[in-house]
């Protein structure tokens, strides 16, 4: 079935709530369908007890979810823009991530935190950040970032079934993009990458909103006989090292593309890991094509300069190959 990214989220949530009475949704405007429409119709279908509008209280949204999860439920909390999770950092980082560990493995925090991730929307510095690097640094959290309708249906449901706290990064710039979604869901473990394009000359690893930019760049480069393999990681913690390694073993070139700033971005982790593991397979140092080390600016001219676009990716890959 063909549908938009946001409808695929709604589908995944509805299926998860249908399958398990312990699943419930909460967040700002969630009952009214969500600021970006991802929860439309859920309150009518499942009732206000399980689809809950909250005040603008991010710490309470996450903290309440943790307590409910420790009581055996599977809350799905929505943080409208990932930037706003900064307000709930104690609950995410010191509480959700550590409860299981600090309590000797006895606590289960089967919590899903859905975050709208901005960028490419002219939403400026406080509504555009992709903060995966913050959370990748905190043991106890999983982080996923699906970029297509089929993937978000799959990975969101996988996340809700996961017994650990999972942050699901949903690129708001892709909410209206449509794509194929399988009729039937089958659970898969988190952490498997998806090769979105096969190629032999260079491996490009990316996730989230930069996936369509990378695919567009790969088309342009194909016309120049540069054959890109595009790996969509889908999950950052854990991330599919083997899939990247297998690809680099064939292409001998690795590029990582992400929208977050380059400095201490997750691309550095990938570059270091693959360099440690496959130094001799690499023809050149791993290249990182990332957001520049600035806040995200408002004016479209500046935002397009700061965030990676297909044109920049094409230019950088040409230099490498």
């Amino acid at each position: 079935m063909r549908m938009s990214y946001s409808k695929a989220i709604t589908l995944a949530l509805a299926e998860a709530m249908e399958a398990d009475e312990g699943v419930f949704c909460l967040g700002e405007d969630v009952g009214y369908g969500g600021a970006y429409g991802a929860t439309q119709g859920l309150r009518d279908r499942f009732g206000a007890a399980r689809v809950r509008d909250t005040p603008i209280s991010e710490s309470a949204i996450i903290g309440f979810s943790i307590g409910a999860a420790m009581s055996g439920m599977r809350p799905v909390a929505e943080i409208m823009h990932m930037d706003f999770i900064a307000i709930a950092m104690d609950q995410v980082v010191n509480q959700a991530a550590k409860m299981r560990y600090m309590f000797g493995g006895k606590a289960q925090v089967a919590l899903t935190i859905r975050c709208g991730v901005g960028g490419y929307l002219n939403a400026a510095a406080q509504h555009s950040q992709s903060l995966e690097a913050w959370f990748a640094h905190v043991p106890g959290l999983k982080i996923v970032c699906p970029a297509t309708p089929g993937d978000v249906r799959q990975v969101l449901r996988d996340s809700i079934l996961d017994d650990n706290p999972v942050i699901v990064m949903e690129p708001l710039g892709l909410y209206e993009a449509s794509g194929e979604v399988p009729d039937v869901y089958q659970q898969r473990p988190l952490g498997k990458a998806d090769v979105k394009r096969r190629g032999e000359d260079v491996t490009i690893v990316t996730w989230g909103r930069t996936l369509p930019e990378v695919l567009e760049a790969a088309e342009i480069l194909a016309a120049e006989r540069i054959d890109c393999e595009v790996i969509d990681l889908l999950s950052l913690v854990p991330w599919d090292e083997q899939a990247v390694f297998d690809s680099v073993w064939r292409t001998n070139n690795l590029v990582v593309v992400h929208q977050a700033p380059r400095r201490a971005g997750f691309g550095a982790e990938i570059a270091a890991t693959i360099t440690e593991r496959a130094f001799k397979e690499l023809d050149k140092p791993v290249a990182r094509i990332c957001g520049l080390n600035t806040p995200v600016p408002f004016a479209p001219e500046m935002e397009n300069y700061v965030l990676p676009r297909a044109a920049r990716i094409v230019a950088e890959v040409r230099k490498l190959v």
Binding site: S65, M73, M99, R100
Partner: protein, 328 residues
């Protein structure tokens, strides 16, 4: 630790004595460096944790604080496993991964002591939310100090718990100090319970050194929660006999002030009450003290003999399924 035929007061007295003796033992063990980490002593505040927990069922949930030994013991934590945890041993309640600041026992609803001031407050409300959604009778209590009532999540939580009419009781142990700072220097109000009115819930202040007063107020709040009438903010005014942590030089108060509060020892106050009511005499107090000292000695010996945690066990329990690499 309670016996079925005890009066409520005697039962609570026994719990308070157990906590006091356990804390006194911890101070000795810490002083001679037998116990690693920090100790935040609960001495002087026993009536609050005991009076509240005596109003709870085993299934009810509590979240506790960095000063949480008394809450865990009052809720029924196994004393041997509690001490083993404070020794960092493999058989501790948290397999040695938590220690004093994170003692937890989920089987009896202890959702953990918490090293972040106020960190457990929304979590207790979340346990209450689960009860509310599932239509259960289980309620939750969030213990916190006066300092926690200044953090943002306290306000977010009380507001939303009231809006959602959740079965939760917010218990503030006002022990006079947030770290080193006196309540009068961190709040402009006379009673913390006044804050309840801002959220549309009942608030009450009681003498936190009077275990019967605490219990009676807690019982009412617990019944309100359990019967579907929503949250309560209960302030228990007590006093922190020890410093913020063991080793705190305490430049912020005089010894006279501490002695004045020691004269209002909640345990001695309960003794007076028990004698007046003809429920006990000094010989009973002696035998309870001896009994609890024996229990604590046994627990210390259990902990000393308990197996050490293997270094590599640090790699377990991060996730339910993912392995974490060590170093080779």
């Amino acid at each position: 630790m309670t016996r079925p035929n005890d009066s409520a007061l005697l039962a609570m007295y026994r719990q308070m004595v157990l906590i006091r003796i356990a804390e006194e033992a911890l101070l000795r063990l810490f002083e001679r460096a037998e116990m690693p980490g920090f100790i935040h002593s609960y001495i002087g505040e026993e009536a609050t944790g005991v009076g509240v927990c005596y109003a709870l069922e085993t299934a009810d949930v509590i979240t506790s604080t960095h000063r949480g030994h008394g809450h865990a013991i009052a809720k029924g934590c196994d004393l041997n496993l509690f001490f083993a945890e404070l020794y960092g041993r493999a058989s501790g309640t948290c397999k040695g991964k938590g220690g004093s600041m994170h003692v937890a026992d989920l089987d009896i609803g202890v959702f953990g002591a918490n090293g972040i001031v106020g960190g457990g407050v929304p979590i207790a409300a979340g346990a209450a939310l689960a009860s509310s959604i599932r239509g259960e009778k289980r309620i939750a209590v969030a213990f916190m100090g006066d300092g926690a009532t200044d953090i943002g999540p306290f306000h977010e939580t009380l507001n939303l718990a009231a809006v959602w009419n959740l079965p939760v009781v917010f218990v503030v142990e006002n022990n006079g100090f947030a770290d080193f700072i006196r309540v009068s220097d961190h709040q402009k109000i006379d009673r913390i319970s006044q804050r309840a009115s801002a959220y549309g819930m009942p608030g009450e202040t009681v003498d936190g050194n009077d275990v019967e007063a605490v219990h009676s107020a807690a019982k009412e709040a617990v019944e309100r929660a359990r019967s579907g009438h929503g949250p309560t903010l209960l302030e228990c005014v007590t006093y922190r006999w020890r410093g913020h942590f063991e080793g705190d030089p305490q430049p912020y108060r005089t010894q006279d002030e501490v002695e004045a509060w020691k004269a209002r020892d909640p345990i001695k106050a309960a003794q007076v009450r028990l004698i007046e009511a003809g429920l006990a005499d000094p010989s009973v107090f002696e035998s309870i003290r001896a009994e609890m000292t024996g229990k604590v000695d046994d627990a210390v010996n259990f902990a000393r003999a308990a197996p050490y945690a293997s270094p590599e066990s640090a790699l377990e329990d991060v996730y339910t399924d993912l392995a974490v690499e060590g170093w080779q």
